[in-house]
């Protein structure tokens, strides 16, 4: 498209479209022309009008089910959603003061958080490029605020490194980068890289390493203003007669390496964790609530599906009302979108072909646990100047997440005291909730001794104990994708599956949105050609 005299340039084209058709058309055109890429979400499914009275049953009122319900209702389908729980959202969920949660095995927790405080037991962050879930949040009027992924003043901590003492992220990051830059600079200066870089490139490389690693004029990473501008000072610069800064002493390369903290430092670089990242104001569950409000009486709650049957005329779903009990009831429709998580779906009798059944049955979900701890005061802010963000540790609680809202409040605060996705998670899940909370306090107090005197109340959610999903999220390998993925996504008669598990974004709400969008488009085509 470049330099073709006479033909309009891409920018000319875009501004023409903008003037003529308004900004939405321009935005859509930008997708087509390859500017605004980065998500597979190309806007909501725009379904044409189906034949009058065409009906669809949607199983599950999580993000996937509700995306399907909204778009199909808008297109003119007769929609009914069946949901096991008494609330919309599924894994999109926040726990507030006054809520109760009963896990498998019967343990019931009463959440005692102060007003405005919450734990997101499941999803807690939305990267900027997840335009699908962000679209539905905007459509339903949910406000977003920044999620702090990387806080340079939070800690990284190893049980063995640095004598077991937590270090500020900025210190370890600066020391790691500084020492690596110095080493590479030495290699370049001694000619060890001459096979790889020309003489001119070597000079540029050295210049860049000095900048990147905060090295001094001799390309050394040493105590001084330059390194302290990265890692922080023993005494910060100030005003007047007491304002002279006192630089800090970098840790030795050996200490930096043996602490093995680089995994904690690389997460921010992942595409999924690069800024900007968002969270809904008031808790992630705001999205599910808002979508549920929008659907109103189309969702039937407290409906536990126990059988899914189809023949060439339609789909019949049998369910039990978990509140009123009584004999099983049935709901029927011509078509069905099923978003029930696979470990549960695999236990429900279902008339589908062998390839889909095998795909459903091959999958167990990953472990995950979150513990929310309410403290009497926000000591991490008041004593340690940590405003939001995450501390990483190699202790069994894995990370500590500070609230990204309500900064400087004099009241209480809720900290994510453990977020565990390692095999250690099974051992947490095997304990009663109050013991999980004790453990989170025990490990966390090694980083924040204030835990002991400031603890107020807590709640612990182990996802394998969550009655309506039996785990955190789907897990695919290259081999299982090759064997089962297409079969899981394919329409089987009158039924199509959607959800986080039918996506290449396992464990992200964007996977649920893009999966539902794709599934209903294909189902709609089938309806229109039937």
């Amino acid at each position: 498209m470049t330099g073709d005299a006479g033909a309009p340039s891409r920018r000319d084209l875009l501004s023409m479209i903008g003037v003529v058709a308004g900004s939405t058309a321009m935005y859509m055109a930008m997708y087509e022309l390859g500017y605004a890429q980065a998500t597979s979400f190309k806007g909501p499914a725009k379904l044409s009008t189906p034949p009058t009275g065409t009906s669809v049953l949607i199983l599950g009122a999580g993000v996937a089910g509700m995306v399907a319900a909204l778009e199909m209702r808008d297109a003119g389908y007769k929609v009914q959603v069946l949901e096991y729980q008494d609330r919309p959202g599924g894994r999109n969920w926040s726990l507030y003061g006054g809520d109760t949660f009963t896990e498998l095995g019967g343990a019931t927790q009463h959440v005692g958080f102060d007003p405005g405080l919450y734990l997101n037991p499941g999803p807690w962050r939305i990267p900027y490029h997840h335009q699908g879930i962000l679209h539905y949040a905007q459509r339903t009027g949910v406000e977003m605020e920044p999620f702090v992924q990387t806080n340079f003043n939070a800690y990284v901590h190893s049980m063995t490194g640095y004598g077991g003492k937590p270090r500020r992220y900025r210190e370890v990051q600066a020391d790691y980068q500084g020492h690596v830059a110095e080493l590479l600079g030495k290699c370049a200066q001694q000619g060890a890289l001459d096979q790889k870089v020309s003489k001119e490139e070597r000079e540029i490389l050295l210049e860049s390493l000095r900048e990147w690693g905060a090295l001094d004029k001799n390309y050394d990473y040493v105590k001084g203003m330059t390194s302290s501008n990265r890692r922080g000072f023993d005494l910060d610069p100030g005003g007047g007669l007491t304002g002279a800064p006192r630089p800090s002493e970098p840790d030795a390369l050996g200490d930096v390496l043996s602490a093995r903290l680089w995994t904690a430092m690389s997460q921010m670089s992942d595409h999924m964790h690069q800024s900007s990242i968002f969270q809904p104001k008031g808790g992630m569950g705001m999205i599910g609530k808002a979508m549920g409000r929008e659907l109103g009486p189309l969702i039937r709650y407290n409906s536990k599906i126990i059988d899914i049957h189809q023949d060439d005329r339609g789909v019949t779903v049998t369910y039990v009302d978990t509140k009123t009990g009584g004999p099983p009831r049935t709901a029927t429709a011509q078509w069905c979108v099923c978003t029930i998580p696979l470990p549960v779906l695999g236990q429900i009798p279902m008339t589908v072909g062998a390839p889909l059944k095998a795909a459903i049955d091959h999958m167990a979900y990953t472990p995950s646990l979150k513990v929310g701890l309410q403290f009497k005061r926000r000591f991490w802010e008041q004593d340690e100047q940590i405003y939001g963000g995450i501390t990483y540790t190699d202790m069994p609680n894995v990370s500590i997440g500070y609230p990204n809202h309500g900064y400087f409040s004099k009241g209480k605060g809720v900290v994510l005291g453990a977020y565990v996705g390692t095999p250690e998670c099974y051992t947490w899940a095997a304990k009663p909730p109050e013991e999980r909370i004790k453990d989170a306090l025990y490990w966390g107090s090694k980083i924040h001794p204030q835990y002991m005197s400031e603890y107020d109340c807590g709640v612990a959610v182990a996802w394998h104990r969550v009655p309506w999903v039996l785990g955190c999220k789907s897990q695919w390998t290259e081999a299982s994708r090759a064997e089962h993925y297409d079969n899981l996504a394919a329409i089987d008669g009158r039924i199509v599956l959607a959800g986080e598990h039918v996506s290449y974004m396992a464990g992200w709400q964007e996977g649920s949105v893009t999966s539902a969008t794709d599934a209903i488009k294909r189902l709609h085509q089938r309806v229109m050609s039937a």
Binding site: Y84, L104, G105, G106, M159, G164, K304, I305, I340, P341, L342, P343, V344, G346, Q347, D361, M363, A364, Y365, T366, P367, M395, P396, T422, P423, E424, Y426, T427, A429, A430, K438, D439, L441, Y442, W443, S445, K446, P449, M452, S453, Y455, A462, H464, R465, V466, P467, W468, V469, L470, G471
Partner: protein
Amino acid sequence: MGVRRLGLAALCSAALLAALPAWAQTAAPQPMVRNGMLTMQGGEAVYNNLCAACHMRDAKGAAGAGVYPALAGDRRLAAAAYPIRLVIHGQKGMPAFGSLLANDQIAAVVTYVRTHFANAYAAPVTAAEVQAMR
């Protein structure tokens, strides 16, 4: 008072220590993963810290929208090969634990469930039997 309690004490001021809630006086938790493997030894410890996450302490299972089957009074444990295979390779909603547990741990936990919770299949399972099914 073990080494770990002393570690905790070192982090707390004397005043804070005096204010420790009662729960803090109980045994300190221990990490249970090393080099990606679960470290509990013996059938009971593996059961209580792993299997109980889903099948529950009393092995009676649990049911919500989804179900964890009871292992108590479970006639399908008669042939040891069945539970051995499930623990190594998983089945449907049950994850595979073959890469988290060594042969002797699997042998111990399968022996444990087959001889407890109203199950009485006395013959102990050996690590060699487990290895043969990997």
